[in-house]
Each structure stands twice: as structure tokens, then as C-alpha cells.
Symmetry: C2
Subunit: 462 residues, 2 copies
């Protein structure tokens, strides 16, 4: 946990923003895999962590804005619990550590919410992403399960987004830590990937590094020779010389701050000539689009710049043709780059994605697009100092998409399908790094990791 004062101040700002009603903040519970008590690794809710820092299951916080009361609801371990899990500090101690004055038994929660409702107080809650919480919110408030999502508090959501979007110094230290563990995972992947190993073999080793770092992986590891599929997880497939491997993985620290990086590299000792060509385009798109990041610059413009660089590069190889800007405006670049340039990162790897991308990454003026490609851009708005985000352009030769669009003659003014045909088994490449927006520009998070072709080949063969 951070210092007590951190949590007190964060809640103070929150209370001054939302002003009236009660805030109901559920912590997460353990979640069963194949039966109730066979748990997935516990992951506390990020907003709960942000305001209270208590990394334990089965808690609720209620903040009464009208009476200025903060209450932690939960139950201390019984002697019998201690047979199974040992002792734990009492909840009073945890409440003290984050500056919360009152602790009550979980059995009192329903009554507290009921009384607030009776008094006509607004019940603010965030949109649940776990069904268990949906059911609980329904039971607490009397709102039917099917309507819980729709009755979330936009006011509360916006207040949380405003705070969590700007990282404090202590958060940035944690983020550097997360990215450094993440970079270690990549160093291991680049060095250990050899002809004949399975994707899952390496993916398991990467998870071990994340776990040894004190936390766990921040999202399911993408380690695949089929990087053309954007979220393709590791399988039992064996990688071979000639393949390129896309590794997109991240650690989260014991305090649950996330890292998220991608490297693409050959299984063999060297990139092939054509792999070098495509890689160089992705690297150029990465360098160009990250170089413009600074407060006030729209992330959507950085995305468009990356698209431009990709089209330019692919024109150079004869895969695309026509006017670059027109091709990007028309959406032709999405045949090769089907997703967005990046996203916020923090306590969640896609930070605050549970609140919805329009509210987190856009504004009333800059709405999220519904077009293929741009609709997967999670962040579009102007940047602010303190934002932390990823930059991750890529080129993906998806054979299904190529076949479908070729058959439709889609973007035939901009795409040389005959040439593209030759790349249908190429795979996909992505380069991803994490940045902090500073007052004047940007700062790379973590120690630099091999990124150029020369650096990657050197690391691979070291």
C-alpha cells in the first residue's frame, strides 16, 4: 500500500467532485474456475485499489457524501479460517492504513444502503464487470439484475476517470517497475525462443518471471507464430526456423500496476530479407507516432500518423499504391493495421476499460468512431501530462481479411492484391512500448529493451 495520506487525498478529491449521495464501491471476490472453491488468482478491483489500496477479497466501501462518512464493510477471519489460511491483520488495521474511520460487519451493508435509499440519497455505483457484483448490486439496491448496468453513475465514473488518468509520482515508480519486469520477460523470450520449442513452453516461462516479480501477468500472454491474429494466445504449436514470433505480454506488480510490451523477432538467428523490410516499416511507424506525443496532441492524430507511415512503407514494397493520405482517409490501411495505436495503462493494462472507451479515451467533441479499424482505437483525445499509454503499431497479413476484401474489390485503388497474395502466410508484426506524457513531451517507461533489427539479433544470439 501507499502511504495513508495518498488514499485520504484521493478520496477527498472524489468526494469534492461527486458531492452528494452515497458511493458504493465493491471489492472483488474470489472466483471459482471449475467449482466454487477452486479459485483463479485473486484480482482486486482497480478502483477499489486506487481509493483504498486493500488487496483482500470480500470487502465493500460505502462513502456517504452527505454525512461525510466512510465505512469499510467486511468480516475478520474466524479461528477456523486460520486453520486454512493462517492469521491476517484485522480489518481495523487495514482501514487505518488507508484512513477509513469506520469498520462494520458485511451483514450491515444492506441496511446501510437501504437507509440511504429511504432518505432519498442518490446511490452511485460503477458499472460491474463481474456477474457476482451485478447480483450483489441488485440485491443491495433493489434494481433488477438486467438493469444494473444501465443505472450506473456517469458522474461517479467521470470523477474516477479524471483522477486515475493522471498518474502521481508514486504510481509512476510502480509503472516503471512493472515495465522493467515486462522487459525481462521479453529478454527471456527473445533469447529462449529456438527451433522446436512450443509456444506454451515459452509462455509459461514468461509467466514464471511475472510471478517471481511479486505479482502476475497483467493480461493473457500472446506468444505466437500467428501474430496476424491480434489476440492469439499461446498454443501447443511448435515454432520453427523461418517463423517470426510475436510476443505481447506484461507483468503487473504486487501493487497491481501493469506493463504491456510487444516485440516481434525471428525464431532463427536472423530476420529474413522480407521480414526486415516489413519490420522496418513497423519500426518507422512506431518511432514516428511516438515522437509526436506531448500534452495537447490528440492520440488519434498519432494513430493517423502511424497509418500514414505504414501506407508509405507498403507503397515502397509495392503492396499499396495511390495517395497516402487518401488511402488512410478511406480506411485502406486497415487491411494491414486493423486496430488502434494504443491505450491508457495503469492499474489496468487497458486502464479503466470497464468504464467504456468513449468516456475514458474520448470527449463529447471527439467521439469514438464506428468504422472498422478506428473503432478499435481505445484512445483518441488530446493527451495530458501524467497520462501513461502504450504505442503499438503493427502490420498484420490476415489471410481471411485479404481473401474477403479482394473478392469484394474493396480498396482496390489503394491495394495491389496480386502482390499482397504473396504475403498471406507472412504472419504479423507489432512493436509496443509504454510512455509517460510529461509536461513537454514523453518519457519511455522502464529501461530500454532491444528494438532495432540489430539489437534484437544481437540479444537473440548473446
Amino acid at each position: 500500500m501507499f502511504a495513508r495520506e495518498t488514499y485520504v487525498q484521493r478520496r477527498e478529491i472524489l468526494k469534492n467532485t461527486v458531492k452528494s449521495g452515497i458511493l458504493i464501491i465493491p471489492g472483488n471476490k474470489e472466483t471459482g474456475m471449475n467449482y466454487k472453491d477452486n479459485w483463479y488468482p485473486f484480482r482486486q478491483d482497480s478502483t477499489f485499489l486506487y481509493y483504498m489500496g486493500i488487496n483482500l477479497p470480500n470487502l465493500y466501501i460505502v462513502i456517504d457524501l452527505d454525512e461525510d462518512r466512510e465505512i469499510l464493510f467486511g468480516d475478520d477471519l474466524t479461528p477456523e479460517d486460520m486453520v486454512w489460511v493462517g492469521a491476517s491483520e484485522p480489518l481495523n488495521t487495514y482501514a487505518e492504513k488507508c484512513g477509513i474511520a469506520e469498520v462494520k460487519a458485511m451483514s450491515k451493508l444492506k441496511e446501510t444502503v437501504r437507509k440511504a435509499k429511504q432518505k432519498g440519497q442518490r446511490l452511485h455505483y460503477l458499472p460491474p464487470y463481474r456477474s457476482k457484483v451485478t447480483i450483489e448490486i441488485s440485491e443491495l439496491t433493489g434494481i433488477p439484475v438486467a438493469e444494473v448496468g444501465a443505472t450506473k453513475s456517469i458522474e461517479f465514473i467521470k470523477a474516477v476517470i479524471a483522477q486515475r488518468s493522471i498518474k502521481s509520482e508514486e504510481e509512476i515508480i510502480e509503472l516503471h517497475k512493472a515495465v522493467n519486469i515486462t522487459a525481462n520477460m521479453h529478454r527471456h523470450a527473445i533469447r529462449r525462443t529456438k527451433h522446436g520449442v512450443s509456444e506454451k513452453q515459452i509462455a509459461g516461462e514468461l509467466q514464471a518471471i511475472a510471478i517471481a516479480g511479486g505479482g502476475n501477468i497483467s493480461f493473457p500472454i500472446i506468444f505466437t507464430k500467428n501474430g496476424q491474429y491480434l489476440h492469439n494466445h499461446a498454443t501447443q504449436a511448435v515454432v520453427e526456423n523461418g517463423d517470426i514470433v510475436l510476443c505481447d505480454c506484461g507483468a503487473e506488480t504486487a501493487m497491481n500496476y501493469a506493463g504491456d510490451m510487444t516485440r516481434t523477432f525471428p525464431v532463427a538467428e536472423r530476420f529474413t530479407a522480407i521480414q526486415r523490410e516489413i519490420y522496418s516499416i513497423v519500426l518507422d511507424a512506431h518511432e514516428s507516432s511516438s515522437s509526436v506525443l506531448k500534452p495537447g496532441h490528440k492520440f488519434k492524430d498519432a494513430h493517423i500518423l502511424a497509418c500514414n507511415r505504414i501506407v508509405e512503407g507498403l507503397k515502397g514494397l509495392g503492396l499499396m499504391k495511390g495517395d497516402t493520405q487518401e488511402a488512410v482517409n478511406a480506411g485502406a490501411s486497415t487491411l494491414f493495421f486493423q486496430c488502434g495505436l494504443g491505450h491508457f495503462m495503469g492499474l489496468d493494462v487497458h486502464d479503466m476499460e470497464n468504464f467504456g472507451e468513449q468516456l475514458v479515451g474520448y470527449t463529447d467533441e471527439i467521439k469514438k468512431s464506428t468504422d472498422f479499424g478506428l473503432k478499435s482505437l481505445r484512445l483518441g483525445k488530446a493527451l495530458e501530462a501524467g497520462n501513461v499509454l502504450t504505442v503499438e503499431p503493427g502490420i498484420y497479413f490476415n489471410p481471411y481479411l485479404i481473401d474477403a476484401w479482394k473478392a469484394q474489390g474493396k480498396y482496390s485503388d489503394f491495394v495491389n492484391y496480386d502482390k499482397v497474395e504473396q504475403f498471406k502466410d507472412f504472419g504479423g508484426m507489432r512493436i509496443e512500448e509504454d510512455f509517460l506524457i510529461t509536461t513537454t513531451g514523453k518519457q519511455l517507461l522502464g529501461e530500454p529493451l532491444a528494438k532495432t533489427i540489430e539489437e534484437l539479433e544481437e540479444l537473440k544470439n548473446s
Copy 2:
């Protein structure tokens, strides 16, 4: 997947047992950790796997017993899904692989259930252990969320338990595989655990072995120098010479069959004299209680035998006193052995625990006890050939329990608390192996793993 005929036959038996109504069998969905789309590793429901073998999310099966129809509900990937996850075989192909004739879109499920209800057919479903499924069953059947658990079909549950309790030859092959990967995890743990490593470091490496094996861990890894707490997971604590480490872990195969073993060993090269003494008692309890396993023998009796051996051993060390059988009958052994001797194992590491331990491990004649200790014995009934189970006695010096019971004078006729005081920082020891009940006795699953003090020390220092 197993051969088509396997699934057809399993469903045939099920249909002949339950006879009338419709069976609603939900597959599991992806589950978000900290937001909806940041998924935990997918784990299919075990009963769904048993009858259909399809390891994909977002499916339902409805079996109409009255009209003898089997329908798989689900949706094929869209071209846009293929951008993210690549291609997949159509559901028709999967249905064929498990011998199901009809495939319908998920949107048709509700209508199918509604019609059955209208016709007055009984709607059979198993007790959900995931909140998402609870909500879905409620939406499908009109039963309120809070009552879904209570309206489960006991008839359906009993039919499934009867089938899944007896493992077929092909299942036993998978179980051997799971236990062999599990034994490899233990070999690694025993050799790699050295003064100065953190619990999480080793736990991560063990998970990597499970993942490389094609599946994942079958339950959260227990790797701890505080083995006195029965389900204590790995922490960032560093282990040191003089500590003993309890490692309880298991792999599940790509087909989701589980292994589950425990070894306890010193961090240093050798057990200390007192560690040897306690270990020898646990080993004796393990050997004695597993030697009696055979069809017709009640597992509860094997548990009682283990308790007896533990009391005998502790009497030898002066920690207990009085008549052994009386001590066990009174429950005095539960100061040191607070849980049960073992449990069924199969597609779930605690096989079918979602159906409730009374139905799975007991009968109308042998009810599950509510006494401390015995109430944690998940299996009590007479064994049958084809059962697969664990045997895992242990001795746990839980300082909180010792203090509490000493203060109450509990079992003071049988416990020498003054002597026990000296063991309050000893920790805990457990030995666990997995067995198949054969027609004449039992068979160890997997290749034997170092278990005696000599074998463990030899492996450690090899």
C-alpha cells in the same frame, strides 16, 4: 477430444438414467479479471467436457429426453472475430466430433427452453458455481436468481456423479499423464528450492512446467514454508536453510484431467532430526492408510486409520498420550490433522465438488459429519473399482489452534500441551499421492516420485 463414440455412449447412459424432461448443460464463458475482456485462462465446465468434450466458450447443450433430441447452441466466429483470434472450425464440425446432430444459434436457446416449459417438461440443470450461469439459468427458466441454486435437479446430479465417479481406460491414461506432469513439477521444486529463493519464484516455475505440459495448473499452487496453514499459497517470503517447505500442486492436461500431489522437504540439504521424526509419522500414516484401499473399503475408515497412526506417532514423541482409539474418537487428533485424508480426482481436482460433498462422497447411510476435522473429509463412502482419489495425511502445528485449545483445556487428557508448545514454530507436513482403485486394490497413478527421507535428500542434492 476422445472418440465420438465415447461421448455418444456417455450421453446414452445419462439419458437412460434421467429418463424425462430436458437437460440444460451450460458451457463456461470467458471471465474478466479487472474488466470484461481481460480474461482469466478459459476453463470449460467439467460436466460439459465429460459429455461433449468441446473446449470452447459460449456454448449450451440441451438434451430433450422426451423427444430424444440433442442440440448444441452457439455461434460461429464472424469474419471480424477472425481478425482478433484467427479462424476456427465451425460448430457443426465440433458437434459431429461428439455425435450431436443439431446445431442452433444461441439466440434460439431461450425459445427452446420456453417451449419445453410450456409443454410441462421438467427443466433439469446442475447447480451453477459461476454467477454468470446463475443469471443465465434465471433468464432462461424464469426462476429468480436467488432461487436458482435451490431448484437444481438432484436426479440429474446423481446420474452425473454415478458416471463420472468411475473412470474409463481412456480417462485413466489422461490421469496418468496429469500426474506425471505433476511429479515433474515436484522434482523441479525439490531440486530448485534453495536458501534465499522466494516462494513465488518457485511457484512460478512450477506453473511454467504445467503450462508447457499443454494445460495449466489444476488449482492454485501451495508452495510455502508455512505449511501449517492448509491452503496457504505462495507469497513473496524468502525460504531459508532450516525451513521446511510444503509443496502441494498439480497440473491439468490439455484435456483437463487433473493431478494433485504434495511433498514436504527441507530447504537445506538434509532434514533436521526433529523434521525426520515428524516426517516419518506422516509417511507411516500415508503408507498405512493407502495400503488398505480397495473396493468395498470405506474411505472414512482409511481416514480414521491415518488419524490412529498419527496419534501413535505423536505419542511416541510425547506430544500426545492416552488410548489412541479414544483420542481419535474424541477428535483430539484434529489438533494436528485438521482436515480429511483425501478426495476424488478427475476432470476436477476435487472431482465434482460443485455438486456438494454429501452427494459425491457420501451416501444416505454414511452422512458427512459436522465435527471439526471430519467435516473436511470430502469422501467417506465405500470405494469402487474405477474411483480415482488422493491420499494426503499431514501433521500441522497451527499456533492459533494450539493456543486456543490449550487455553480451553481442550483434549487435555490426550495432548501434552507443554511439549506441543515447543513445536509451535515447526510448520506443517503433508504427503499426497493419487490412486486408482482397481478390482483387487489400488494402483499408484504416474511414475513414482521420491517420497522417503532418503529419496528426497538424494533428489535434492542430485
